[in-house]
Subunit: 320 residues, 2 copies
Amino acid sequence: MAVYTDVSADDLARFIARYDIGELLSYKGIAEGVENSNFLVHTSAGNFILTLYEKRVAEADLPFFLGLMEHLAARGLNCPQPVKNREGGMLGVVAGRPAAIVTFLDGLWIRKPNAGHCAAVGEAMARLHLAGADFPIKRPNALSVDSWRPLFEHAGPRGDSVRDGLCSEIVTELDVLEKNWPRDLPAGVIHADLFPDNVFFLGDRLSGLIDFYFACNDMFAYDVAICLNCWCFEPDHSFNVTKGRALLKGYEKVRPLSGIERAALPVLARGAAMRFLLTRLVDWLAVPEGALVKPKDPLEYRGKLRFHQSVKSASDYGLS
Amino acid sequence: MAVYTDVSADDLARFIARYDIGELLSYKGIAEGVENSNFLVHTSAGNFILTLYEKRVAEADLPFFLGLMEHLAARGLNCPQPVKNREGGMLGVVAGRPAAIVTFLDGLWIRKPNAGHCAAVGEAMARLHLAGADFPIKRPNALSVDSWRPLFEHAGPRGDSVRDGLCSEIVTELDVLEKNWPRDLPAGVIHADLFPDNVFFLGDRLSGLIDFYFACNDMFAYDVAICLNCWCFEPDHSFNVTKGRALLKGYEKVRPLSGIERAALPVLARGAAMRFLLTRLVDWLAVPEGALVKPKDPLEYRGKLRFHQSVKSASDYGLS
């Protein structure tokens, strides 16, 4: 749930007037995204999304995010497309925040994905990996293996207040991950946050990908590992191999995984689980007692991590 | 800021299928209203608002609210119009909550209204009062004078934690209001919450009124008094008589106030200030320390109340 910044009608009308998108008719703050303030804007030309970038998004990264969306859309990927103003710019200022307007994407996100949805997201992710190949701007992944120990130390010993023994479990795993993290796999632009709420469907057809604000340069197979974590587990944290198989098969239809990528999948999946375990832990500990906003449960990712620790090879994920 | 209930795409698609409003293309939770969960729904037939009624709205009152919107819209007032499903009903169930779909209204709410906006809202309010005359369902005002002392006693002595001396100031005023509250003024359907964020404009033209979930039967002039409170004060709590004059003139263009209504205006304005002072006080005290959601400042209405206490006659509001 977001919308941190209130925008006045006058301010927004002035901003919209710099674009060729007709007259401002209405705008509503929407409860979407946790990093930015988002508004659904209705003009005489249709629906658009206005995003105000709050402090958690570095302004220096905006040309990467907006440029990437434009680059991918130009290559046929269905994603929000930044609208250029009359001077050709994609970035402006509203209520003192960097702000951009992107096209509105129809579609619904699936609360309970089935194997068909997993196949579709696998395929779309592979297309994204290929389409990003010639994108010129680089952005290292700020949430990869090197960031995890500092992130954990930031949460500190308070981790055990969430669950006894959590801290030592994390430290043991960090030792393994830092020692075994692969460095030479095929890499390029990855989405890095392709959770179900960032993937839209219309009926059974995948209609678009949104929220590129964690996108970065990293190993393609790490993106696959993130999706195995967030698409293929059941609510009781058990892994559904049918969904795993479907996701990997969908991916390989477009971009087959190499031998070293396949071999690395278990450790990448452990790392992906660790990354979300840690950021959720930090968010969990940052929320004051009694607050109305409930952060996501970090222990969901401890459950997933434990599954990955038990995996013998990539075939346990359904890879044939 | 709202959206309390998450709705799955499947649940919503099933609900929408009962209506003749095309196919569901997208929906977003919107940060609007504080009593209900609201979603902006895009279908192949256009934009709609879906409201899920949370526990603060009594289910027994829904036929009044929805019926009133339909009644007013049929008489030419621009307000959200409940959409009927194929069985002719306006009320259904989504995610276990009573739910309704209403038409989407374009327009922007004005953060800093000028006298022109005040004139327009006065006129629209008078039209609402006339249009509601033959609405058959009755709903007494649950937040009128009889409710204020119990509301205050609910907040109790903790009121002084907001500002020293606040409790005794409220008690003294409640004595005055209960003794002098008028009972025999012209009455009918009033909006009772016509704050700037419930009034839409397109350019300088008032384009619609929304949020009828406090509407009830009460004195027309009390609705006028509420609007004097929420439209005609400056941010420093000083009364702007130019705006007051414009609002009253706009109102009287459609429905002139009678002598007894004019005479009662100062006490009604005091009562209106007390009503919002008290509900804001209760909300303020109900929010836990450190919560991310900041309730509205009750002291704004203490400032307004003090102005009304100094008023000698309705001409101080700009009534000619």
